[in-house]
Assembly symmetry: C2
Homo-oligomer: 426 residues x 2
């Protein structure tokens, strides 16, 4: 994409009311726009980045047998009353509204209820199980405070997967597969080394649930990281314990010592729950087993927020100059910055290089604007695309060997490393 077509302008200052580093940088770089606290528009660069994250999560959910659908935000209160989650005293983050005829509606905070209801049409026998379905869907949550930028939204995109199983054993087998899929996502996003699976409160129906927490000072949570795991190589999933469940029983259950735990700030980037039969019993989702007996379906749910992950990546990787994206999620792979000369040679060479790279399927943002080198470089740093190709009179004059079309300066945004490479080698 040519930058002259990208309508967003960078800015030097974030809005005064924006306190989160992730949102400050994303607004300054033109990735998002703030409608109100916790409610952000995704502008072209931001939408591209968000979609990259969505794509990675989708691949991992498909790999464990997930099938994608899309449920609605508008919800009739009836099914939520069946599980006692409609009353504002029970769930205090509803946005509620009404049809013209006065019927109460809510904007879905999550989707266990409607999906359980829906699956009654599609699950009848043991042959119809197991099932795993997921969506990327906008959730609405009426948070009292929303000060963490795109890491805590009142309106935000969420990937939620729900698994339906015959029994606890089948459910647990899927639960383990999903844990690994989550680890895969975090590794692919480049935050795997800072992300722990924590033991969290299981609520009414299981001893523990699990969260995935990424270490960052911007996080709202406190966790206790088990440092022994890395020392003795216990495997890929690094474990930690949420503050609220840290007690002697947990330590015994996990076979770890208090002394091996270190307190850290972290952000919850995923959570997974064994729901048991809470929703299937309340809403009547049962299947007939081999003997014709009616059995409530075992459920589990798996949440993950693409926007929150995007915010977390910003918090972890950005530097004083601006955003720094890992290749897997960057809105473009290459930022081609042309420093125009008067005779039009640079412009010509940059146009040709842009066309060639684009034709080869490389995603290029091409700064073809009439702006100073200083403006272009500082915008480029702020936008944070992994590789910057600078093309100018100076680089064009540098030929590796006779007949070459000149060179470009290649700068790695993350490491700052610069090299001169012949255009023919790109």
């Amino acid at each position: 994409m040519k930058q002259s077509q990208l309508f967003t302008k960078t800015r030097h200052e974030a809005p005064k009311d924006e306190v989160a580093k992730n949102a400050q940088l994303l607004i300054r770089a033109g990735y998002v726009n703030k409608e109100m606290a916790g409610v952000y528009d995704f502008l072209p660069l931001g939408l591209r980045t968000l979609n990259k994250i969505v794509g990675i999560i989708r691949e991992e959910m498909n790999a464990i047998g997930g099938v994608e659908l899309s449920l609605t935000a508008l919800q009739d209160k009836k099914i939520w009353e069946a599980t006692d989650r409609w009353d504002d005293k029970k769930v205090d983050i509803w946005f509620k509204t009404k049809l013209q005829n006065g019927t109460d509606l809510g904007l879905a905070i999550t989707h266990e209820e409607p999906l359980t209801q829906l699956m009654k049409d599609h699950i009848r026998s043991f042959r119809d199980l197991p099932r795993a379905v997921y969506q990327f869907q906008t959730k609405f949550r009426n948070e009292v405070r929303a000060k963490s930028g795109i890491m805590r939204g009142r309106e935000f995109l969420m990937k939620d997967l729900y698994a339906f199983s015959r029994d606890v054993a089948e459910r647990d087998a899927f639960y383990e597969k999903a844990q690994q899929a989550y680890v895969n996502v975090f590794n692919r996003l480049g935050i795997g080394d800072k992300t722990y699976m924590t033991f969290a409160s299981g609520g009414l129906f299981s001893k523990y649930s699990h969260e995935f927490q990424t270490l960052t000072e911007a996080g709202e949570d406190t966790i206790y990281v088990y440092e022994g795991a890395e020392k003795n190589g216990q495997g890929q999933i690094k474990i930690a314990v949420n503050k609220e469940v840290l007690n002697d029983e947990v330590l015994t259950d996990l076979g770890i010592k208090r002394a091996d735990l270190v307190e850290k700030k972290a952000v919850e980037v995923g959570n997974i729950f064994k729901l048991g039969t809470r929703f299937s019993e309340a809403l009547g989702l049962v299947y007939q087993d081999e003997k014709g007996k009616s059995i409530p379906v075992e459920m589990s749910s798996y949440g993950m927020g693409p926007g929150r992950l995007m915010g977390t990546i910003v918090e972890l990787m950005a530097d004083e100059k601006g955003l720094v994206w890992p290749e897997a999620v960057a809105p473009f792979a290459v930022h081609l910055v042309a420093l125009f000369d008067k005779n039009g040679k640079v412009s010509e060479a940059a146009d040709v290089l842009y066309e060639k790279l684009t034709a080869r399927g490389i995603e290029v943002l091409y700064d073809d604007r009439d702006a100073t080198a200083g403006e272009k470089f500082s915008d480029s740093d702020l936008i944070g695309i992994p590789l910057r190709y600078v093309i100018s009179e100076k680089t064009l004059a540098k030929n590796g060997s006779e007949g070459d079309a000149g060179s470009v300066e290649v700068k790695n945004r993350a490491t700052g490393k610069v090299e001169i490479r012949p255009i023919s080698s790109l």
Copy 2:
């Protein structure tokens, strides 16, 4: 995808309260689920179809220079008061809600206001124009009646593009490009021959707006089709007149005779408006021209509903056996139906064929279920994938020549045409 993994079951009857043919069939075939009138979940087959439509529209919007973003549903009332569209007496289809602190919010019915507000950060000079930005975003409209299935939603996906221009001439040039892009979309969706550009009321700021109306008895609108256009080959855009603006003045403006107009039922599948400076003046979106003078930006907007288009295709193409999809929007290109034998040979051959087709990038729904031929065929007719490949003991025994791996029966869903083709030729 293997049909054993697709969790949706077809059904013989639609829900009793569903009166629209499109929703009846889509529910029966497992494409959508009804949460309430005008509020439909998109199940895997439905989501795939919807995404195909979205993909086609996106390509055409990109081709006219559109840049994609995504705005939020939650909206602060302030900017809507600035254009006098907040009051329920002025706009009677709002869903409204509140933050915990009592602040009034609305669920966006459209996005002129927030986008105009947002563009104030990005348009300053004549050099920043023209711009065209668009999104696929969920709109919420509190319709009193919603009886047309997915053709009139209270919650529905909409493509809305907004163009920002220096002056009327620049705006009109884009308006014409967009008209052609709309025609391209309808042609690619297979409804071009039944879709007319109609002259509709222009509201306060222009004499006419334009709608795109597709002829169908399921439509809620009445239009007057100019039959002369086809007779005298006046070009690709077929014109018609909306009932509410049909008068002598229009006939004179268009240079057509009343006698050439035929009354038809139709559904509005797109609408385009010249907004003038109504929003830019109310919200202060101005640019500096070459002489430094502040000028309000000329705006125009371009709406199109992917779900409504999907419903329209159903209404136009479905037959008594079920859905019939054009190739461009079908959830899969091929429905591979295996009629299993006892010795497992058919299953083996079908598995191999499925893998081969899939490896070549062909989207295949593979009916690998343990079900009768009758069930499989009636499901396949209902689901409506363009090509059905039936593989059975009988077809496997049919070899074109020695050494062939047998044949499949290929049936075209739309025409009913059947042919036997060697597997090696597929």
